[in-house]
Symmetry: C2
Subunit: 328 residues, 2 copies
Amino acid sequence: EAASSSPSSVNSKMEQLLLPPIGDRSVRLHMLAAPVNPADMNMIQGSYPVLCPLPAVGGNEGVAEVIEVGSDVTSLRPGDWVMPIDAGFGTWRTGAVCEEDELISVPKDISLLGAATIFVNPCTAYRMLHDFQTLTPGCTVIQNASNSAVGQAVIQIAAALGLKTINIIRDRPNCAELIDELQSLGADYVVTEEEVMSTGLHRVFEEVPKPKLGLNCVGGLSGGIVFSNLDYGGTMVTYGGMAKRPLQIPAKSFIFHNVTLKGFWLTQWKRKHKEDKAQLKAMLNAVCDLMRGGQLSAPHCVQTPFHQYTHALQATVQSHSRKHVLIM
Amino acid sequence: EAASSSPSSVNSKMEQLLLPPIGDRSVRLHMLAAPVNPADMNMIQGSYPVLCPLPAVGGNEGVAEVIEVGSDVTSLRPGDWVMPIDAGFGTWRTGAVCEEDELISVPKDISLLGAATIFVNPCTAYRMLHDFQTLTPGCTVIQNASNSAVGQAVIQIAAALGLKTINIIRDRPNCAELIDELQSLGADYVVTEEEVMSTGLHRVFEEVPKPKLGLNCVGGLSGGIVFSNLDYGGTMVTYGGMAKRPLQIPAKSFIFHNVTLKGFWLTQWKRKHKEDKAQLKAMLNAVCDLMRGGQLSAPHCVQTPFHQYTHALQATVQSHSRKHVLIM
């Protein structure tokens, strides 16, 4: 069974597909759980730079159990938990047959929800905290969209690394509650965009150094808050554009403040490291260690039975609230 | 005699100052020639991040002859040509006494105008072509403000390196003439902003690869033309903001096109390498070699006798045309 979606909106249906027989180097899987990420919806809408030939099975992330392996498969055994490496796999399905090379295993001693959602958001947070600036304990990181799944992972991984975080959120009715929640994850400072615009971050910078690294998932004014508070020579990494407004960067930020602006897209990073599974494994091991140690919790998810997938898709398109995870 | 300027506008006067006696490690100079660069005017207006205690002597670049050296000076002899390394020296003067360490020598077999103007614009072009991307012959560079002093140096140094240049200019009445002039310097393509906006650069990209490096001195729409035509993974370096409008960068340029945005400020580069004169000398030697070989010409300058300096300052504030060089 697989949920295929049409680009017009959330027009999708569940269909019975015949699985091909497994070859010497291929593997038969039973999907266990697969989240509905916002980027999955962008892909269905055709606005994502990974497009699959239609009709296609939706979903890019998830955890499966290995049911059967071909005679030449060496790295996987029945019962293992695995995840597809590449985007475009189509994880909203109950079964699949694919090549051993397309998969990477994940330890079974983390939670099912943790395993189902580890490979997009926590890994994005992990890479951004490691690949752009040399950060040592006591260094500061500033980010917006701090309540997103990546934002929450950034807070927790940064805290585990001994980094200080300044977390920008949009003003909202339940602000105090959200601030409490993010602080309980390890956020050092949680401030609303409005606060930063009116009073700045002077008070914060009396206590911690200016950030060498900024993480931007919003763009527009909110991205401006991130880069304009960077330390001299700092780097801002853009990994999303939720506000659908461009960043506006004055020349002096580059020339006199020596700011560097870069982007990060985990799908591209995975493609680049596809042949070199050691790097993928090292990242997964590090993130799993944080999960086992209680330093990184799985996101608060809504678990949705697979046959109710339309509800999960609609909820994801309509709001940025809780992540839905389909349970097969 | 020194020309000091007040911040209000081009309110300046020439004054007689007494030179201090020279110490064991200091040097007495006679200034020969000093340009009026736009950044000098920004400094006088107070909008530059290098501010001198007032009253101050204007001018940040120029060539001087060594007249007398202290007993412990080893690297310089009377008759040598020298330039101040740091911004803020005040080169609009006839004489100066300073430390040996503040100076770097320049060969006397290049033209006086070449020596007077080598250390800001051609060196900026040289560094930007060397420090941000690994460029091999056949690679493409795109820039705006192509008719500026830096722009012309970029065209010539790039041509000497075997690089292809795409040079954006503003539309203007004498466009054909300017295109001829830049092509005679070695520009491969010269296109107006309007042309790029209406028809793009498809024709150009049938002949040369997309640029790995973009150089932006304008900002706003013109900066947008530069970064949006970069190759995947390319870098745009901002070194000016002539349009006084911010760059507007959509998130997808960072995420899916992997563009990096950085800034360059030669004053900062020089500060960083002040202790390590080998790097400064290597750069000057390379640029002087290009001048001697006829691959890099001194900019078309208006030579102004020092006592007519007010005319040169006013002309620089009022227009971006020919560079004025004060001759002492």
